[in-house]
Amino acid sequence: MAIVVVFIELRDERATAPSLRALAAARGVSDELGASVYGLLATGALAPDVLERLSVELGLAGADKILFCADATLAAPALDLTHGALLGDLAERLRPLLFMFPVGSAGRELGPGLAVRTGAVYCPDAICDIVPPMIDQPDAGPQLRLRRRRAAGDGTREICVRDLERPVVALIGSTGPHAAGGREAAEIEMLTCPPAASVLAFEEVSRHDDEDTAVEMARVVIVIDQTSPADAHRADTGDLAVLAADAVPSIADAGCPSLVIDARGGHPGKDLAVPIGLPTVPDGLRAVVTSTAPSRKTAPPGQDALWMADPTRAVRELADALAVAASAPRGTR
């Protein structure tokens, strides 16, 4: 049976929202393909009750099994140096069809290294879905498809996994639901951690909390002009990250939201925040807020939408709309 492995990123001993979304996406495609979904927890030691809670949480999100590897070397945020060998060994042993990472810094750190180790296809900022069999090939069965937006913003790339002769490592964009009809609790399999390098090449000498970390997990990012008085403050929530144009943090590049909005107002086309590198999922939007009637000048290349609105009120309107969308019954959104 084919296997899909999903790396689970933890924060404060809880799975991140993008991890749950990635699991749900894996569950959705695996049901169609008859594949099993394994969640990979590579972390420091966890108390038994925490592990039990996670098995329920991840099971509900879509995991059939949890591969659990606990070691002191895995306690800090993921580095290729500390986690890479474990992932490589696992990929070698299980030979998964697809190795998925949720958006966030762990995927950006570990995904390319795993693809290089295993000779896999690497597909960042992707969404996955199932393509039904072609009319002239009814016996071929459904196909797993990955799509991502090209960095240049000029289109998308589509990969049909069945056509490949090698596995795929994918970073799944921040889109979709948190759960997809999984079981109540996932089975847990304990893994042995490969021996750490005797001398680590990197030694951590200091650390502090990253106050901008919410942006890497947000589904919506809005960039405002720092001089806008009403909203020039951080209003980060689980789904929405608000950034001042002159202080877009580097960690924003680790995310892959469904919607990126330039709401600086008055300067469309001039050093826009969107083209400088904030990725979006292929079905997502890159939008510019403008209060003037659209013309060729106000539709800069690479933008998918022009939002006719008052830039100074954009954050509030967006937050309100997100709250309404979040409260809508499932299936109506």
């Binding site: 990969i159 000498v205 400088i276 997100l322």
Partner: protein, 221 residues
């Protein structure tokens, strides 16, 4: 400390130019080489003038590189880095034309050197073991680096604010290498196009939206 900055052509992106600025801000003792690789002379980066303080500019040009993917590009860069004797390697994240961001990992793998990604800044005041600031997992961490190492600079990292130190180097050696010069058979540089998938052009025209709710709906939220 021999520092190598890998830059894509014909125009390096923001992450790569930041990587170069971080290298130039290292102490004057750091010996800086720029490596740019491309399929032809037109596609390779040709700075005019070469940034002050750069000791060597190596232009690795070979038609076979136009056929390579990130794995083989990483191999070619690693062979060049070995020949240069680089100890600290700086690259931009997602510097390849597809924006995959896998070249630094391939470079590190072929060089058998550790990789550190999402680098925000580099402090080279202690030449044998520089420090790098990285972000990830909700933390900002300062890491002491044992050389050799490959550092991938975040696409949105900030440019260093301090001016580059004055360096003794006043001239730059410019060299053009081919894969054969590195002992690499161009025939091994093969692109595996299945990994890129099929390209579908975008719509190319912006939709006009009148409300936040409509915007969320169109974004699938």
């Amino acid at each position: 400390m021999k520092v190598l900055v890998c830059l894509e052509g014909p125009e390096p992106g923001r992450a790569s130019t930041t990587a170069l600025a971080l290298a130039l801000a290292l102490p004057a003792e750091a010996e800086i080489t720029i490596l740019t690789a491309a399929a032809d002379d037109k596609s390779a980066w040709r700075p005019e003038p070469v940034p002050a303080g750069v000791t060597q500019l190596v232009r690795l040009i070979d038609p076979a590189l136009g056929e390579g993917d990130f794995l083989t590009l990483g191999l070619a860069l690693a062979m060049a880095a070995r020949r240069i004797g680089a100890q600290l390697l700086l690259t931009g994240a997602r510097a390849d034309d597809e924006g995959l961001g896998a070249v630094p990992a391939a470079l590190a793998r072929h060089l058998d050197a550790p990789l550190l990604t999402r680098v925000d800044s580099v402090d080279g005041s202690t030449a044998d073991a520089p420090y790098a600031t990285i972000r990830g997992g909700g933390l900002v961490r300062v890491m002491k680096i044992r050389l050799p190492a490959v550092l991938s600079v975040a696409a949105l990292a900030l440019m260093p604010t301090t001016p580059p130190p004055a360096r003794a180097t006043t001239t730059t050696t410019i060299e053009t290498w081919s894969l054969v010069d590195l002992g690499l058979d161009p025939a091994v540089i093969l692109r595996r196009d299945d990994g890129l998938g099929v390209f579908r052009p975008g719509a190319g025209k912006a939709a006009v939206i009148s409300s936040a709710a409509e915007l969320l709906r169109l974004a699938g939220l």
